[in-house]
Structure formats: structure tokens, C-alpha cells
Amino acid sequence: MSTKTVFVTVGTTKFDELINTVTDHRTLQALKRNGYTSMILQIGNGSFVVEPSDVLEITSYKFKPDIGPDMINSDLIISHGGAGSIMQALDYGKPLLVVINEKLMNNHQCELAEKLCEERYLYYTTCENLWNCIENLDFSLLNSVKVDNSKKICKQIEYFLKI
């Protein structure tokens, strides 16, 4: 049987609520029904203790210098709303589900998730609706074209400098 991995990242701080929800029995069942077999958690400074589960194979760590390889090797990325993580995940062309931390309101980071969701680059949700999203969203509908404006920015710069 082929393995399908989901990678969860909370970034440089902590987001215990996300870790809690994602390891919830209901979420794990939903993931399993969608064919996922293992889960890697990057839990940051959170105090949440990850318990082993009989549904999915769960591994976790606090931080790594480079989470790139874990992203590349995964089939789905569940991420906090940080711009760095979002852009990195999209760079690798992975299906991405962003979970907004509602306790960090007025945070301009959710603007980015909202906007990219409108453009169909990712889905975003809250902790409450996480399992529902995993159950019902079709990640194959997402735009897999990279978000890369570099060429256009270059043009504008060269035009300005008259070269």
C-alpha cells in the first residue's frame, strides 16, 4: 500500500489549538478516509503532548532548521496563517489547507490566506471546521501554478531604469 503523508506546521511560535484539533479522533478518521496513512507535526513552542494513535502513524518535533524536505515529502500541508509557511508550501506546489488562528485577530496574515483562497491557490478554515474541510474539500481543484510575480516585477524595474 502506498503511503500518503500529511504535514502540519505551526511556524515559529505555537498554535496548540491546531495541534489539538488535528490530532483529534474525528480529524484523524477523516484523514484516514481520504487515504492518508501518516502525519508529521511541527509543534513549535506549544505545550501540547502528542499521543500515539492507532488511526494514523504520528510523528512530531518542535523545530527544524529547514522544514522544506518534510513539505516536499508530504501529500497535504496543513499550515498556520504565516506568510512564510504559506509561500513555501505553494512554492513546492503542494495542496495547502491554512488554519487561521482566531485568537490572533487583526492579524494581516489572514488577509493573505483569504486572498489566495479567492484565487484558488489554497483553502483556509478555522480549527472548528478543520475536520469538515478535510472530509469535503477537493484539493485537486486547487490551482497548482506557482504564485510568482518575479518576471513582472523585473519588467517594471527594467522599464523604470530604461534598460
Binding site: Q88, H108, S150, C154, Q156
Partner: protein, 216 residues
């Protein structure tokens, strides 16, 4: 007597001239009326590298630029930021480039009082680096580090030392409003590029949306 008049007059003329020039430069920026003379090539380019996502964005941009037109390139980054340093060293595949470091103006959890001094210290270190490099182009995309650098470049322009173009590319994570750095750059950058149409709408002609106005 003559000396006394000179003593009064010379500073007055100087300050009148430079404050006039200051207003002229800012006016030129705000109305986007600056036009470059047919410029010499290649451009001496100073790239201000931030951290994390900013670094990634800037390096991606650098990689799609024609590096033969932007030489030599000096990457300016914070001395504590070894991650960014490694990324620059990995990604930069052209010729004629180097890295310079400046002290970080504020460390995480540093108190505001001491951070005033460390900011001043950071500016002191930045000034000779920027002046001796004498860039034709300063390219930056958001982190606080770029503010002192751009100020120095702007002052160089004010005193006719160099004709530096300052280009600010707002990070893609800013969707609805410019970052604090962006708001400061509003007055001193020659060109501001934003990556979402909402920002273009909000700030009008002062900012450019990607390749707007260019055909094909």
C-alpha cells in the same frame, strides 16, 4: 564686516538650497515625475536582504533578473542572520557579487530604550558601507533594515553625491495596506511595486501594480 555677512549668508543659502532640493526630491517621488537619463550600465546594485519570507521573495526576484545588467551586486544583511546568508550563497549563481553585514537594530525581546542606541549604532555602521559602495540602485522589499539604508541613499542624492534609484517591492503578504516600511518608503522611494490590485487602488498612481502599463 564682510566676514560676518558671509558667516550669515553662506549657511542660509546652503540650508535654503538643500531644503528646497529635499522638497523637490520628495515632490518628484510623490508625483512619479522622476525620469532617468539614458543610464550607464551595468547598475551597481545594493540588495537589502531581510529575513525569512522576505529573503525568499527577494532571492526569487534576483534570480529572474538579468544579472549582467546589475553588477556588481552587494547583498546587505543582518549579522545574526546566518540562514539568509546561506540562502544568498546558495542562490546567487552570477558573477561579481559580495555580502556585507550590518548589526541588527533590534533583537527579539530587546527593550525599546536600548534598541534606540542599537539602531543608532546600526545606522553608523550602515553609512560607510552604503557610501563606499555608491550604488546606482537600491533594491529592497520590506524588512526594517532597509529603512536606514534607503535613508542614506536618499541623503546621498540630496547632496548630489550619487544619483541612486531606490526601488521598493512590497511583500506579497501585504494585501490591503502597505507595511510600515512601505509607508515610510512612500516618500523616499523612486518606485514602489505592489503585488495586489487592492493596494494599487488604495494608493493610486504612487505605486505600480506588477507590470502595469507595459505592453506584452
Amino acid at each position: 564686516m564682510l566676514l560676518f555677512i558671509m558667516w550669515l549668508l553662506v549657511p542660509t543659502i546652503f540650508s535654503a538650497y538643500f531644503s528646497g532640493r529635499l522638497m523637490y526630491l520628495i515632490f518628484q517621488n510623490l508625483t512619479n515625475t522622476k525620469s532617468l537619463k539614458k543610464s550607464k550600465q551595468p547598475f551597481r546594485t545594493l540588495v537589502v536582504i531581510g529575513s525569512g519570507g522576505h529573503t525568499a521573495e527577494m532571492l526569487r526576484l534576483m534570480n529572474s533578473m538579468n544579472k549582467l545588467k546589475f553588477m556588481p551586486r552587494l547583498y546587505l544583511l543582518a549579522d545574526t542572520d546566518t540562514t539568509s546568508r546561506n540562502r544568498v550563497e546558495n542562490d546567487e549563481n552570477g558573477l561579481d557579487w559580495s555580502i556585507a553585514t550590518i548589526p541588527r537594530s533590534r533583537h527579539v525581546n530587546q527593550s525599546y530604550l536600548t534598541s534606540i542606541f542599537s539602531t543608532i549604532y546600526a545606522i553608523f555602521i550602515t553609512v560607510p558601507t552604503v557610501i563606499s559602495f555608491k550604488p546606482d540602485l537600491v533594491l529592497c522589499n520590506g524588512p526594517g533594515t532597509c529603512v536606514p539604508v534607503c535613508l542614506v541613499a536618499f541623503i546621498m542624492k540630496l547632496f548630489h553625491y550619487a544619483d541612486t534609484s531606490i526601488i521598493f517591492v512590497e511583500s506579497i503578504c501585504r494585501v490591503k495596506s502597505l507595511s510600515l516600511t512601505g509607508k515610510l518608503m512612500y516618500f523616499i522611494a523612486d518606485l514602489i511595486i505592489v503585488q495586489w490590485p487592492e493596494l494599487r487602488k488604495k494608493y493610486g498612481h504612487r505605486v505600480k501594480y506588477l507590470d502595469e502599463g507595459l505592453n506584452s
